[in-house]
Symmetry: C2
Subunit: 292 residues, 2 copies
């Protein structure tokens, strides 16, 4: 099979072709400019590729309610030109194939459940920690949508006792994203996270916030795997710090060996690495073929 | 049809008989004593009732993993005699019928989705705020189980700026349950909540904590209805305070009319009132018949 995949990000669009084994055979990347221009690039890429379906994991917020007249739109983003933009319909007008359509993080969660770190499990939660913080939820074998879709990057958190940073979220100031996304790290320390040494106190504070969110999601949803991806999570020293924080927060309350004895295999980086998003979009495309 | 229903609570067991319309035709209640004695009462009640199935919503933590040898057990409760108690098997040995088995709060969420405030919706979250705080999650038409099952009463919360109460949870001290369950209200104010007037400052503080949890669950799971039940929620003045808190916390970020324009119909008491738990157990019993 030849399935098209689009990871539609706020910074770049990644397009690719893959098959039913999750192998990505080709990929290209464009900067995210105004939508007309970006979509012209996407359409040109797929023009002669003869794909059987296209899966799209997109930055949001999105409309993913098939009953809505605005299904397939990017909705209230402040990104110039992209607010209320009919991304899905623009592609449908060009390529008459089945489409998969979900948030970038739901796509990544799904890809990880099919081919990655949560392979064979019927639930996982996928966090991306980068320019923003997003959460995808796969539970009882289904991606969670609901009223809108999960926006778990914006939950309120307790403040680290030594942290006086005001917070960086324009909506909630010191929510999770406002305290722990890449721009918050940079604003707090005056340098990008990628320039801070691995033993910098920044990472303990970062792990405090991410660990708090992960503890809450374990209590709220009881996922069988927690996957932490995105640029900030390239700082591998964060993983042991986050696991320690989670065990500290839960304090033995959730009686599961996977937490108490095997947490190194429970809170993990994406099995698909930086392909998680594109492979997830591919998986959405495959699901669309099956359901067509 | 004649379906048996058991709401197995830490204080009392409610048993009843109902039909496929959700009508409860008979109900009795026993105090929760040692398990042998309590189950003897339950078994005596159902002895000549000739039920076609039995649904059980139980206090926990529980084992609800059908693959586990401990499926049907109450697991790590400190309640004397009930730790590692095979509740489901004890009944199976007496009555050879299909069984539904889930947490009390998942049962209530399910009952509300079938016959109550979330009727016709494919998702809702059910909170009980009483002696403890529990959360049931119904999402994409399924009850959420996962690694163990949701235990959302124990999420960490921000502290109300005027609240100096230390917290009442033996595991997490000042988690949601530690700050906002009935015993926390009583310990904070020296009187039971039911004895405090409706304009007492206790309720603003209570709404602060419950509202914070509800905001997080909306961001994390995007449920189509949030249902707040349990003894503490009999204080009806809490509902407008909680709705206000939720809107304040979300600050317009989640663009949904159901939140922004119709929150009075979005955060609601159980449609089934104090029958939510028993009707939920009945619904689990009906599902067991369908799946048998």
């Amino acid at each position: 099979m030849r399935i098209g995949a689009i990871e539609a990000g706020g910074t770049k669009f990644i397009c690719g072709i893959g098959n039913e084994q999750g192998v990505i055979q080709d990929r290209v990347s464009f900067p995210t400019e105004r939508p007309e221009r970006t979509l012209a690039n996407v359409i040109a890429y797929f023009k002669d590729k003869q794909v059987e379906a296209i899966g799209i994991g997109s930055f949001g917020p999105l409309n993913i309610d098939p009953e809505s007249p605005y299904y397939g739109y990017i909705t209230s983003t402040p990104k110039p030109g992209w607010g209320n933009y009919p991304l899905l319909n623009t592609l449908k007008n060009e390529f008459d194939v089945p489409y998969g359509w979900d948030t970038d993080v739901n796509a990544a969660a799904y890809g990880e459940a099919i081919w990655g770190a949560a392979r064979g499990l019927d639930s996982c939660v996928y966090y991306t920690v980068g320019t923003g913080i997003g959460v995808g939820v796969y539970s009882e074998g289904k991606l969670i949508h609901g009223l809108v879709h999960p926006e778990g990057g914006h939950v309120l958190t307790r403040r680290h006792p030594q942290d006086e940073f005001a917070g960086h979220c324009p909506y909630h100031r010191d929510c999770l994203e406002g305290m722990a996304a890449g721009p918050a790290i940079e604003a707090r320390w005056g340098r990008k996270g990628s320039e801070l040494p691995a033993d910098h106190p920044a990472w303990e504070i970062e792990a405090f916030y991410i660990g708090q969110a992960v503890s809450s999601v374990i209590l709220m949803l009881s996922p069988k795997k927690v996957i932490l991806g995105g640029g900030v999570m390239h700082q591998e020293q964060l993983f042991p710090l986050i696991r320690k924080e989670v065990l500290h927060n839960l304090n033995g309350y959730v009686q599961s060996d996977q937490l108490l004895a095997q947490i190194d295999a429970y809170i993990v980086p994406p099995g698909l690495g930086d392909n998680a998003g594109l492979a997830g979009a591919l998986a959405l495309g495959l699901k669309a073929v099956e359901q067509a």
